[in-house]
Subunit: 366 residues, 2 copies
């Protein structure tokens, strides 16, 4: 199962909207074949594994899968049929597929056909690997990741506005590679105006969404000049004509400002979901990240922390907007991990009130 | 030498203004006696070790010391004389005593008397153990430690001002035990007004200094009610009469405000040093810590970080005041250590432009 999980993970960033799945087939304690789902629309893991060996050897074998096999027609036929056809003796499944079209139905059918089914092995790892997919299925909305790069005292710019660079090169490189894992990178328009970022990944060009109520984003900005077809703009209805004129290739969504002059980010997320965007990587700035936290939309956080102190009451805080009023409303993080990346520290974890994932109690730092 | 260092460390917090020293005496690869300096005014480590064995066995033995022995009269006679009297064959010293009255003089005299002397073993550890003493001797001013207890995003209070508690019980307990290591705890008057802290250690009552230009500190505050003789107030000359009337037992110092309405904290530190205070533990709040960083006075930092997010552009930042303007002026930390303490993270290190200690390049996180 451990191998199935690591095979599945090889396709991280390429299977959306599908989950990552790995399959390992063993007989008499020997692995006879394996495979993984490489890209959405391509064959599923089970099929990849099966087609790499001769059909006769599969009879009586055990199939290890990190996710319940599908029993419905998608872009490929149901894997369940292939499993039944090859007369497996036993199927070991880490976790049930949360897709309402599956949700245990394949397991039931396998058992009805006298195939031994065991579930739950490496369940937590399997859920974590496909955390995006689980959120998508359970909440019908994208998995939202907040990324912060700050000083030890929580600043992202000095009092004079200087912000490049606070974290080191290795930390920034790792942050860039994280973009490859998610379907869309999102920033507020101020970040575009100040930094003019490209928002590209290391291996891929993700969608690049900008929250821009007053349509201040310049036509010549990097994110419009490079791959304008990947640009998504959220602006006000009053800017419709202008937006469609200046950004003909971009996808433009129109929202109403609330009393605080901001958009309902839940609505924006749902719009992205309808567009097929299963995960959003929110990179800033201070106000945008703060609004995502205020609206309790964040499923996972990455804090890159440089071992330096900026100080200053007028310096820009990493998480702005309203914030919490009472300490018992603070966004507590669960399942925290800490790593050194170059000279920086990277802390990641899951807001307790966040993802659709079942939550364990706060673990101690490892 | 490792044993000498750990013996020395046993007296942490009790030897000021003296350094911590441990002594181990060995002969033919066997430890025959050991001792450490337990408290200022009490016998030095060498004497503690020597008196625990019979004089004859010391002849031809090796003495291990984490600091060069003294050759001058203080509250006790010079240890050098005792070492020479007992005919040691060899003395191993981790580091030279930076005290101008010693500074290699004992080593010279030992060599002149045909005692073999080796230096430099565990030198860095020996300097770090006595970092307070080294700063005192090299800069004639107290060693200043900044302590911050904040959320992951660098906040010490919510936008409504709630601040108790951000970090967990174990983290706060550890922070309290740190007070035992330093001679004086220092806060700004706003911290007294908001939190009314006791500022006491776990084993000791340190001096409790308050920066209070307008003498707003209430007579009935905890730090005045409990051990008023340990209270130190920095206020303006215009408050002299009032201060001496309300706080007859406290030590009150008068300073002039600068153009920003604040005191020169370097002057305040020197005043504390003259009072025999060798180390200051600055606990807040935002403005006071910020001023210490602005005035480049911090020798060591402890950041206690709770794995939670407070957010809000109006929430109180951990390090306030002016802050740096250009990123290349940021206070970079060297020799960083990270530990988990309960659910919190504790990061400590040394500002590169800080202590009198020689600095190594930024180490990677361990």
């Amino acid at each position: 199962m451990s191998l199935a999980l690591s095979l599945a993970g090889k396709a991280q960033g390429f299977t959306s909207p599908n989950p990552m799945v790995g399959a390992v087939i063993a007989k008499k304690d020997k692995i006879i074949t394996k495979g993984f789902h490489k890209r959405s629309g391509w064959p599923h893991a089970e099929i990849e594994a099966i087609k790499r060996t001769d059909s006769r050897s599969l009879k009586g074998a055990t199939l290890y899968l990190n996710l319940e096999p599908c029993c419905h027609w998608g872009r490929t036929p149901p894997c369940l049929d292939a499993i039944l056809k090859h007369k497996f003796k036993r199927v070991v499944i880490a976790v049930k597929d949360p897709n309402p079209k599956v949700n245990g139905a394949s397991i039931k059918k396998l058992r009805k056909s006298k195939v031994k089914v065991d579930t739950g092995l490496f369940r937590k790892d399997a859920e974590e690997l496909n955390e995006v997919f689980f959120k998508n299925m359970r909440k019908k909305s994208p998995f939202i990741v907040a990324k912060v790069a700050q000083s030890l005292d929580g600043k992202i710019a000095t009092c004079s506005g200087e912000s490049k660079w606070i974290t080191g090169k290795k930390g920034r490189d790792f942050a860039k590679s994280l973009r490859d894992r998610y379907d869309c990178v999102l920033v507020g328009v101020n970040t575009v105006l100040l930094d003019d970022p490209g928002l590209e990944g290391k291996k891929r060009i993700p969608f690049k969404a900008v929250i821009d109520p007053d349509l201040k984003i310049p036509e010549e900005s990097c994110i419009n000049k490079r791959h304008p077809e990947k640009l998504i703009i959220f602006t006000s209805l009053s800017k419709k004509k202008q937006a469609l004129e200046i950004f003909p290739k971009a996808k433009v969504f129109f929202l109403k400002k609330d009393s605080s002059g901001w958009f309902c980010l839940k609505k924006a997320s749902k719009m992205l979901f309808k567009l097929g965007i299963m995960s959003v990587f929110v990179e800033g700035g201070s106000e945008t990240l703060g609004r995502f936290f205020d609206q309790k939309l964040v499923d996972k956080v990455y804090f890159f922390i440089a071992p330096k102190i900026i100080g200053g009451k007028r310096s820009l805080a990493s998480v702005g907007a309203q914030g919490i009023k009472k300490l018992n409303q603070a966004v507590e993080l669960d399942k925290i991990e800490i790593r050194r990346i170059g000279t920086d520290l990277c802390v990641w974890g899951y807001p307790c009130a966040g993802a659709g994932l079942p939550l364990t109690r706060i673990k101690k730092f490892r």
